[in-house]
Symmetry: C2
Subunit: 340 residues, 2 copies
């Protein structure tokens, strides 16, 4: 019962206390071979007495099995990221893999490199990079990598959500409702250039032979949506708005409402993500449902394929679903100039 020293108890300690040889102890633990009754009891007692727990590092070393999956993420509190990580964890746990989270918040290459190196000092089976394009840089070429979300990337296996289709479907929906064009308020792009949502939206506009207005950039903060909403309240030309995510959409609805502009009476707003609160919003937010946990599970599956040595860097696209609620409607026929 007394903790003899700082060093945790090893199998050798257990064996000594139980008066058996070292290999006998694991035979008791894993029941991998028959051991006489009395020794089983002695070993079990010793394990409890010493608080023995197996040393995963030693095990991984001798067996060659590495069972940690590192998730490199830039932000873990936004709903989409948290839900994706949740999906990864679920799939990993089912396969007896463990999930280690490393948040890459710094732009500083050296910090990223340090964080990655620290993580890779563990028995790491593979890495899932969550959207952050910066993180990939610091990874050695030999470690199995899968990317979840982010901009398409030829060099790695990648689990994507078909955001292009989502952007197109929502834009087409707004056009079908009768809006002349669709304005896109985007969240910060993850890589260089435009994100897929924006591209999908523009593709729909081009197909409909409509002019594509310039993208309005928002930050990740929902409050930025509110400010944009207030600002656009007086622009008679903006009747149909597609937002980079639901939080921004909620902010825009709020900003418009602050200025007395009715949604969807005067302006239609469509979100992206199907946030858990989207249906509760007033008006219920028309948005694009994405199955983030499925994305996470898929990323893990791709990673297992890479670990197994499949050559092709595969890529998958989870489907999206337009969720029609109340925040989008046909444009007001009499124009929408309106004073509070």
């Amino acid at each position: 019962m007394t903790r003899n020293s700082g060093r945790p108890a090893s199998l050798a300690d257990v064996a000594r206390l139980a008066r058996v040889s070292v290999p006998t102890a694991p035979r008791v633990i894993t029941r991998s071979a028959r051991v006489s009754e009395d020794k089983v009891e002695r070993v079990e007692a010793a394990i409890i007495a010493l608080g023995y727990r197996p040393n995963g590092a030693a095990r991984a070393l001798v067996s060659g099995i590495q069972n940690i999956v590192v998730v490199l993420a830039s932000n873990t509190t936004y709903y989409g990221y948290a839900a994706t990580i949740r999906g990864i964890e679920e799939a990993a746990r089912a396969a007896e893999h463990l999930v280690m989270i490393v948040v890459i918040e710094s732009e500083d290459e050296a910090h990223v490199r340090d964080a990655v190196r620290l993580a890779l000092s563990q028995p790491v089976a593979g890495v899932i990079v969550l959207k952050s394009d910066r993180a990939g840089v610091a990874l050695p070429a030999t470690i199995p990598v899968a990317v979840a979300s982010g901009s398409p990337d030829e060099t790695h296996a990648q689990a994507l959500i078909d955001e292009f289709a989502g952007g197109r479907a929502t834009t087409e929906y707004l056009l079908t409702l009768g809006h002349r064009t669709v304005h896109h308020v985007s969240v910060p792009p993850s890589g260089v250039g435009e994100d897929e949502r924006t591209r999908g939206s523009r593709a729909a506009l081009v197909s409909a032979d409509t002019d594509a207005p310039p993208v309005i950039p928002a930050s990740w903060d929902p409050g930025s949506g509110r400010r944009i909403g207030s600002a656009i309240a007086r622009r008679a030309d903006m009747t149909g708005t597609l937002c980079g995510n639901d939080e921004i959409a909620m902010g825009i609805v709020r900003g418009l409402t602050d200025e007395g502009v009715d949604v969807p009476g005067k302006v239609s707003v469509v979100g992206f993500d199907d946030h858990p609160l989207a249906g509760l919003w007033r008006p219920g937010l028309t948005t694009v449902n994405q199955d983030f946990p499925a994305l996470g599970r898929r990323a893990y599956m791709l990673l297992t394929e890479v670990m197994a040595g499949r050559q092709e860097p595969d890529s998958t696209r989870e489907p999206t679903r337009l969720i029609v609620r109340e925040s989008a409607a046909p444009p007001s026929p009499r124009g929408r100039r309106h004073l509070p």
Copy 2:
């Protein structure tokens, strides 16, 4: 350039190819000692040629360093949990510790035990249990543990948010506004018995010599708040409502609004958490701000104290702050029976 076999390249392989001894290779890698120019070059070339990366298991084994902090959580997607985990990760990373997430979703004791055992087979320095009281059961007594949130617990170091004070402050605020009493719609309690928010609320009612109405239980799903909101729309006695969290509060506002009951004109609703969307809600949600990242950082600090061998199971309480927005107001003088 050719990968000779399935087995990844080891230091021995690198050393052989570079025609140096095994210990020289790591000297080059970590620059821990001076190595002659030509050998440095040969080793570096060999590392690249073989795609060598250090074996974390061996490293962890030989160095004996345990630098993983396991977070046991029941749900990682709710804002409060995600933000707390974020705080833990931040503090841990600053101390060169890694964070491993284990989600405990099963009620099944055996599953929990397996998941915990798997995690503890890694070089684990300590465990932070996030609110789930069930998880603690499976932990060996020898491993350092700190608890974040949850019901007060004498046996472990514990970082808490002063939810009691939050529950009391909001209730007092509603009473001050003139409400006869305050109804509490609670989220599922984490342990046995009532949570601190409920207790704080009741304490305020008792102090004010007011009768405490029975608690109305909600689930974690915001939709349950909406159903409750609809259901209570016709109850003339419920003018002041305190909710277990903001999502439920938003649901209740929505349910009341669905039935044509004005908030805060007819019913005041107060939330808990200061969710990022609380201020954007219509009406802006009066709520209790909690600093979840600070809670996480504090939990990590407590864990380091436990690891360092401090005896007293300490406990800390982060302060809360009443955030007054628009969802609570004095009760309507003419009663609030109202038909849509």
